[in-house]
Amino acid sequence: MSKILDNLRYADSHEWVKVDGDIATVGITDYAQHALGNIVYVDMPEVGDEVTQGEDFGAVESVKAASDLISPISGEVIEINEALEDEPELVNQDAFENWIMKVRMTDPSEVEKLLDAAAYGKICEE
């Protein structure tokens, strides 16, 4: 059974968002890391890149395949989790602790379109 945190919002493409003012921290969910298996590479955006809700901003790669990362919100990338460059397997160890990017949101109301923990939990059960 994968872990879902109550205080986060979720995209049906299995990314999570933690909102703090207009700053969004984004990662992939425990369900996603489990489905991917051994993560060997995280292709992250660069600081300063613009990301758009619903569009890809990178990829997370298991041994077998690459999966696109879909941005749950729009804005400017202000920080990436550089630890993942050398240790992508951290995402397997704790997908909620090991975020991928921080974004200054241009439209914080986009968060309202995302799922809450209960709704996301249902998607994972399907």
């Binding site: 298996g37 051994n38 060997v40 590479y41 790669e61 041994v63 077998k64 690459a66």
Partner: protein, 364 residues
């Protein structure tokens, strides 16, 4: 339309072990049990086993068996002792590859062909069509045989213990038929991992019993996920990636298996011409700088244009390097050539290298 997937005789065992299952070649196959890296390392350093019951088996018997196998197979089985195995391809007249396969010589009048799961129907049809005029019987026995591959440095001692047999006398690329539990079981020293190991062919019932005994002996079950990473690291081709109806064995850099000095075989003229004139493109290795991972189908570029594409790519589990096999146009196939691999929105620099990223560890 959803195709109904075939289950191998070990399907129940895979689901009971909690394997991640996925369609492959029309079969519902285990991709991984514990994790691709763990299973990969079990085979490289200890012993692992694979359900390869999806592979096809075709028995060719009759007075013309030698003549017929020579006609459809690019490698040369002339003068082979009984019990010898050959790797090679069947090709179309234009040199494109029908399939790559193993040919087991039982005797001059009997050969056992092991073909790829995804190609069984196509191969059997093609073999039968070309058998016209030859005094042979072509028998597709794929539904009868289950097959387990036991691979790794401890494969021999493990399988000897489990079966109570002496397997040391079976040399590399040789096989023996044993009578076990009232049936004939074929055991060959072959595999698709670059490690020492065996492939065991028997009835479904025998195969399930053997699987259970190997599990009891502590052998790591391995899925198709690491089967691909293992074969890739030692530069072995996979039909559909490095070989296809459009790719000849010469283009796949497998000319060593194409014996152009044979009097005749299907595709000889086209392949001889290609060999003489030189191919326009060829499978090579690429080593990437950095961590990005090249995948099947990604474009390879040089001099501002696309010069080929990736056929298989991984972060090598054994070496940690980002490496790939790729089909590249001449003259970009030369060792040391600098190329760029397009991965999503960016390109990453790489160098053309030999397509062997890890040394084979065969017991010859």
């Amino acid at each position: 339309m959803e195709e109904k997937l075939i289950k191998t005789c070990l399907h129940d065992r895979h689901t009971a072990l909690g394997a991640l299952m996925s369609p492959f070649g029309g079969f519902d196959m285990p991709i991984q049990y514990k994790g691709i890296a763990e299973e990969h390392n079990a085979v490289r350093h200890d012993v692992g086993m694979f359900d390869v019951s999806h592979m096809g088996e075709v028995r060719v018997t009759g007075p013309d068996a030698y003549k017929f196998v020579s006609h459809i197979f690019v490698n040369d089985v002339t003068g082979a002792p009984d019990g010898q195995i050959y790797y090679g391809m069947m090709c179309y007249e234009n040199g494109g590859t029908v399939d790559d396969l193993l040919v087991y010589k039982v005797n001059d009048n009997e050969y056992f062909l092991v073909i790829n799961a995804s190609n069984i129907a196509k191969d059997v049809e093609w073999i039968k069509r070309n058998a016209e005029g030859f005094d042979v019987v072509v028998d597709n026995q794929s539904d009868y045989y289950g097959e387990i591959a036991i691979q790794g440095p401890k494969a021999e001692e493990t399988l000897e213990k489990v079966l109570g047999l002496n397997l040391k006398e079976i040399a590399f690329y040789n096989f023996k038929t044993f009578h076990i539990d009232g049936e004939d079981v074929i055991i060959s020293r072959t595999g698709y991992t670059g490690e020492d190991g065996f492939e065991v062919y028997g009835s479904h019932e025998f195969t399930v019993r053997l699987w259970d005994k190997l599990i009891e002996a502590g052998v790591q079950p391995c899925g198709l996920g690491c089967r691909d990473t293992l074969r890739f690291e030692v530069g072995l081709p996979l039909y559909g990636d490095e070989l296809s109806e459009e790719i000849t064995p010469i283009e796949a850099s497998l000319s060593m298996f194409v014996k152009l000095d044979k009097p005749e075989f299907i595709g000889k003229e086209a392949l001889a011409l290609q060999k003489a004139e030189g191919v326009k493109r060829r499978i090579v290795g690429i080593e990437l700088e950095g961590n990005a991972i090249p995948r099947h189908g990604y474009p390879v570029e040089a001099d501002g244009k696309q010069i080929g594409e990736i056929t298989t790519g991984y972060r090598s589990i054994s070496t940690g390097k980002s490496v790939a096999m790729a089909m590249l146009d001449k003259p970009y196939d030369k060792l040391g050539t600098k190329v760029e691999v397009r991965i999503r929105k960016k390109t990453f620099p790489g160098t053309v290298v030999k397509k062997r990223f890890y040394d084979k560890n065969y017991k010859k």
